[in-house]
Symmetry: C2
Subunit: 170 residues, 2 copies
């Protein structure tokens, strides 16, 4: 059974919706997804640092469309590990585990890795929205489209635009 | 530079002292280390589950003797990753990161991995007090003596009894 590494933010968790909602609450500015193309989240959202370090940001984030069914399917077919860059944001850690338990109850705590960098995690397939995580991965690389990675073109990666596309691929 | 995986509980963190203190507070029983030889912590400490899930257990644990100087030395000589089995205990996650930042400020969040199982973490040397973590590791295995592992004998591991011994070995 192949080991499959699945990212949280931007793949299972719809962090863009959360950033947009929190920026609206914070400043009254409603940001448009199309205008954020090619910008990192930290560039696109003026209050990025404040929001990712706040409480409840990760606990209340929306689940990505079709990801529950999608991950359940993958979990029966692969050895799934959820790998999230999280130790930079101490408030996120418990929230991420609780959020996974709530929405993806078929994922055990044994399958969760919260880390700083992902280059020390073994796997054969990686699904991630950040090219920096895929770049040095020595297995099959699947890039989940988000505004920040829209402009990236690389022959070594496969791009998917939805969980339905992940399922058709894997 | 070789990658070195260093465990927290029972290697950097003196969890036995914490368990004994909390059992004393809880029940008035002062447990003796010598009487706990060969028993897993979950067998040795009647209130194990309650205490590892409680708040502050991991935040207030004592630092293992000589581990600050020892880890600082290793951190200059190896690519150190702190790898802790922690996702089973959601309250421990933030506490572990804060505890590391307090006592081992030279360890960056980039060097911390909080996981369920350790068999997916890449490394060339592992220091751990739990044989179950070392058993399937394909690098150099160093067992840090604790009462629960006292009776384990295995030619594939090197046993150390203190941080001073780690330094003389590495």
């Amino acid at each position: 059974m192949k080991q499959l590494l699945v990212d949280m933010d931007g793949v299972l968790a719809d962090v863009y919706s959360q950033f947009i909602k929190m920026e609206l609450n914070e400043s009254g500015n409603l940001l448009n997804l199309d205008s954020l193309s090619g910008m990192l989240e930290s560039e696109a959202f003026p209050n990025f640092q404040k929001h990712v370090h706040s409480e409840y940001f990760f606990r209340t984030v929306l689940v990505m469309k079709d990801s529950v069914e999608g991950l359940n399917y993958l979990n029966n077919k692969y050895k799934v590990l959820i790998v999230s860059s999280a130790t930079e944001f101490p408030n996120s850690l418990k929230e991420k585990v609780e959020w996974l338990h709530q929405y993806f109850p078929f994922i055990s705590w044994k399958q969760i890795i919260l880390c700083g960098e992902k280059d020390s995690i073994k796997g054969e397939i990686m699904i991630d929205d950040h090219y920096k995580n895929l770049r040095n991965f020595d297995g099959r690389k699947i890039l989940f489209t988000q505004p920040h990675n829209n402009l990236i073109k690389n022959d070594s990666i496969e791009r998917v635009n939805s969980w339905k596309e992940i399922i058709s691929l894997l």
